[in-house]
């Protein structure tokens, strides 16, 4: 029995163990004596105590009857993410695919593509959803990452509260109050994929409140093609903004904010070309995006303790891809909300909203959008009552939003939720809801040449080339609809361990697909061709089900481990059997992985040193052999941060470390060349003064 101690490493191990595990560690459980110590500390000492517990976050979440995950400022910082879409990988149920160094596809619970249209993204209540494409242009929308207080990722429909297009989820990006960002901040860094970046912020007192101004700029490197050539996906952008918060007379709280930006990014398109033997010409494209917004929000408490908020913003933007299109857009949005507590049982919120968005789109080449000018208007009203059935234990939420928009008409979006909290550390919730996705300007009015089948090729033996073109046939496109059933459970097992599980079953109808039109001969000079039109229709439906699990665990006070797992089963089908419809459905079915998991480890080795690790796995897309196939990948990010003083930090980050390059998605809608993501490193310095 004693024999095993004779093996040299084990004996050495025992020796070392005896040497380094001194009594205080073996004794463990320092909680009881410390309780008295903390209480008797001076204010100065308390201000220096480092807090690492997760209790606060989970307590707040315990109260919510929806699948919510909060990405905190600390999570973003410790992930090493340099932009918002990369930070969204932290949340379960979210699929983030980097198409190139300047383009992302982000979705929740399936249907991912660059223009994922079933996800509503808001920053401080301002919609980032593009009316031209439906979805978010992640290379256009941004802010100073250090200004983000938290990102709330709500999986499942949030339409009753947030409005149309909050079909599969809502992402709320909430920036910090101006008074929380006083003093100056300077961030600068450089690396292989992150060629160079710098940002600056200054916060000051201003009258009866606070104000901050900030600016940032960066240049990113190009990624590579599968063959290893450079990808022409450079990205350079600059952005400046401000936010001020003031206490006004009569208890009014006023927030003013604004932003202006300019950026250029590169892309290479397979432009359909009847003159070319292959049917396409590889063309370098240059995208320019500029714009800005101004926003005002006023919150106040009325007589009787009810709370009201009114918010308005105006946004202007210009997006140009030279040779394809140029979109100029002006949007005005007004929003009012009123929250009343009626007795002990009813927590009532109602609101009204109005939006008007006017565009002016000139197009050419393979894209033709007509009419050139079109406006979109939206009127909405919502009411939600949160009814306490049993105090502190059982609550019922009933919500309804009515919307009318100029593209697809009237849409009611109801929602019912129930949450049972048998104790302060457990909750069980369930919901049934309906949400809609409104058609986009591009879907309604965009003619796009999809591809050319050259003459005398195996698929097209005729002497004329065949041009397949997406041409709207003038029919009204209805809203896509979703009926969703969800159930979730959260448990805080102790101060250091909590788990969150959500299950869903979704039924979609009137999903966008395409129908084949009748071919016709176009006697163009110098090259006549056969035009095969395909038109957008609503011939697809789908059902999805899945589960998302998030665990938050502190095995030791200074070590946090966060595993997440998401499973998704998506089955879309065509109601017509039309070849174009079947092709659309196949694309939908292969847009999102079935399995995803990630493991994060955050170690606060000391007050001065952090070591973070982030291992991620994303399942394959489509079947191997399909043109939509993307193999599964597993990758790793590491971050080491050192603070020689409390106000200065140096961090070294390695991203996508497990392979030289890998693809994460294939192009959709716009005919971009498929690119692969490379391993990257960067060094960053952060100084507050």
């Amino acid at each position: 029995m004693l024999q095993w101690t004779n093996s040299r490493p084990v004996r050495l191990g025992l020796l070392l163990t005896a040497a380094c595990l001194s009594p205080p560690l073996l004794a463990e459980e320092p909680a009881a004596p410390d309780a008295a110590v903390a209480v008797d500390m001076s204010l100065e000492d308390l201000l220096n105590v480092e807090i690492t517990s997760a209790a606060r976050k989970s307590q707040r979440l315990n109260d919510v009857a929806a699948a919510v995950y909060v990405i905190s400022r600390e999570d973003i910082e410790r992930s090493g993410a340099t932009n918002i879409p990369e930070a969204l990988r932290l949340a379960p149920g979210v699929n983030v695919a980097r198409l190139a160094n300047n383009r992302w596809a982000v979705s929740v619970r399936g249907f991912n593509s660059r223009f994922s249209n079933k996800l509503l993204v808001l920053m401080d209540g301002r919609s980032m959803y593009s009316h031209l494409f439906s979805g978010v242009l992640w290379e256009v929308e941004d802010t100073l990452l250090e200004d983000i207080e938290r990102i709330e990722v709500i999986r499942g429909p949030g339409a009753a509260m947030w409005g149309a297009n909050a079909v599969n989820g809502v992402i709320n990006i909430i920036t910090r109050r101006a008074r929380d960002t006083q003093g100056s901040l300077l961030v600068a860094g450089a690396g292989s994929e992150e060629s160079a970046f710098a940002s600056f912020r200054h916060g000051m007192a201003a009258g009866d409140g606070h104000l901050r101004v900030w600016g940032k700029g960066f240049a990113r490197d190009e990624s590579v093609t599968p063959q290893g050539e450079t990808g022409n996906d450079y990205w350079r952008a600059g952005r400046a903004g401000f936010r001020g918060d003031w206490m006004m007379g009569g208890g009014h709280r006023l927030t003013l904010s604004g932003q202006a930006y300019y950026g250029t990014s590169g892309d290479t398109w397979h432009v359909p070309d009847i003159g070319s033997p292959a049917g396409v010409t590889l063309t370098d494209m240059r995208q320019k995006a500029s714009g800005g917004f101004l926003m005002a929000r006023n919150e106040w408490t009325l007589q009787g303790g009810s709370e009201a908020a009114v918010q308005a913003y105006v946004a202007a933007s210009e997006l140009e891809i030279a040779g394809a299109f140029k979109e100029q857009r002006t949007t005005v949005d007004l929003d009012f909300q009123h929250r009343i507590l009626l007795g002990d049982r009813h927590d009532l919120v109602w609101g009204l909203g109005y939006r008007h968005s006017q565009d002016d789109i000139s197009s050419g080449g393979m894209i033709n959008i007509q009419p050139q000018k079109r406006s979109f208007s939206l009127v909405s009203a919502f009411i939600q009552d949160e009814i306490t059935l049993v105090p502190d234990t059982l609550r019922l939420l009933l919500g309804l939003r009515l919307e009318d928009n100029s593209f697809s008409g009237f849409a009611p979006q109801p929602n019912a939720r129930m949450i049972w909290t048998p104790s302060a550390n457990q909750s069980l919730w369930a919901s049934v809801s309906r949400a809609v996705r409104t058609p986009s300007r591009a879907e309604l009015d965009g003619q796009v040449d999809a591809f050319v089948v050259p003459a005398r090729s195996p698929v097209n033996p005729t002497p004329l080339p065949l041009v397949v073109s997406n041409i709207p046939n003038g029919q009204d496109l209805p809203n896509e609809t979703l009926t969703a059933y969800e159930i979730g459970y959260r448990h805080q097992f102790g101060p250091g361990l909590s788990a969150d599980v959500a299950l869903f079953y979704n039924l979609y109808d009137e999903l966008r697909a395409q129908m084949t039109g009748s071919p016709r001969l176009v006697l163009a000079q110098p090259q006549p061709y056969v035009l095969l039109p395909v038109s957008p229709d609503d011939s697809a439906k789908a059902r999805t089900h899945g589960v998302e699990i998030a665990v938050d665990w502190y095995p030791l006070p200074w070590w946090r481990i966060q595993p997440i797992y998401s499973y998704l089963d998506l089955r879309a089908s065509s109601k017509t059997g039309d070849p174009a419809s079947l092709l659309s459905v196949e694309t939908t079915n292969s847009g999102s992985p079935q399995h995803q998991w990630a493991l994060r480890s955050s170690m606060s080795l000391s007050e001065r040193q952090h070591f973070d690790l982030w291992l991620r796995h994303v399942g394959k897309l489509a079947a191997s052999g399909s043109p939509l196939y993307v193999p599964a990948y597993t990758t790793l990010d590491l971050r080491y941060a050192w603070r020689p003083t409390r106000d200065f930090e140096l961090s070294l980050v390695g991203q996508n470390l497990l392979d030289g390059q890998h693809p994460e998605s294939v192009a959709s809608l716009l005919p971009s060349r498929n690119l692969e993501i490379e391993r990257g490193y960067y060094l960053k310095a952060r100084w507050q003064f």
Binding site: T17, C20, G183, T301, D347, D392, P557
Partner: protein, 184 residues
């Protein structure tokens, strides 16, 4: 080779264990630290003399809501502050706050914040909470988190309204009143 690897791993384990020891020595739970803040606030705030029935009448610390901080505050019962003992009492609703000198509103009550503050408005009562944007809602002292540490913000208008005097030491350390240095 194996033994080399083995001792390497053990050296790492040893380093981790040492770091753990250091961390354990300084580990103070967030709830305990917040309770420590509340005790200090009671130390640095002056109430009008008339609120106390007798020279040695206790400072009544009332707690609204249920969470870990509310639990940690019960440890303050019996401590001496400004020559008076602290008595901790749990409230079922804000209407019971009339005899209290300090009211701590737990984050679990943050949904009813505006209503609670309205119910106690004008009373010589120090309101404290760790709920988000507490001083914006009209509360007197809010405990907030920044840079992995706890900080606090003071609403001077709310203190004036409650006829409370805060020591300059307290005001000096408040995040929103301090000169520059956001520490964020």
């Amino acid at each position: 080779m194996r033994s080399f690897l083995g001792s390497g791993l053990l050296a790492l384990a040893c380093a981790v264990a040492t770091a753990a020891q250091v961390a354990a020595q300084t580990a103070v739970s967030e709830a305990q630290a917040k309770a420590g803040f509340v005790l200090n606030f009671a130390r640095y705030v002056e109430w009008p003399e008339r609120v106390f029935a007798a020279r040695d009448a206790p400072i009544l610390l009332c707690v609204l809501g249920r969470d870990e901080v509310a639990t940690a505050l019960t440890a303050l019962d019996g401590r001496q502050v400004q020559g008076r003992p602290i008595a901790v009492r749990r409230l079922a609703n804000a209407d019971e706050a009339r005899p209290c000198q300090v009211l701590f509103i737990a984050e679990s009550e943050s949904r009813r914040l505006a209503l609670t503050l309205r119910a106690v408005a004008g009373q010589p009562l120090l309101t404290v909470s760790d709920a988000d944007a507490f001083i914006d809602a009209g509360g007197a002292i809010g405990i907030v988190r920044g840079d992995g540490r706890l900080q606090f913000e003071v609403n001077r208008a709310a203190l004036d309204q409650a006829q409370l005097k805060a020591s300059s030491n307290l005001l000096k350390l408040a995040r929103n009143l301090a000169e520059a240095k956001g520490r964020n």
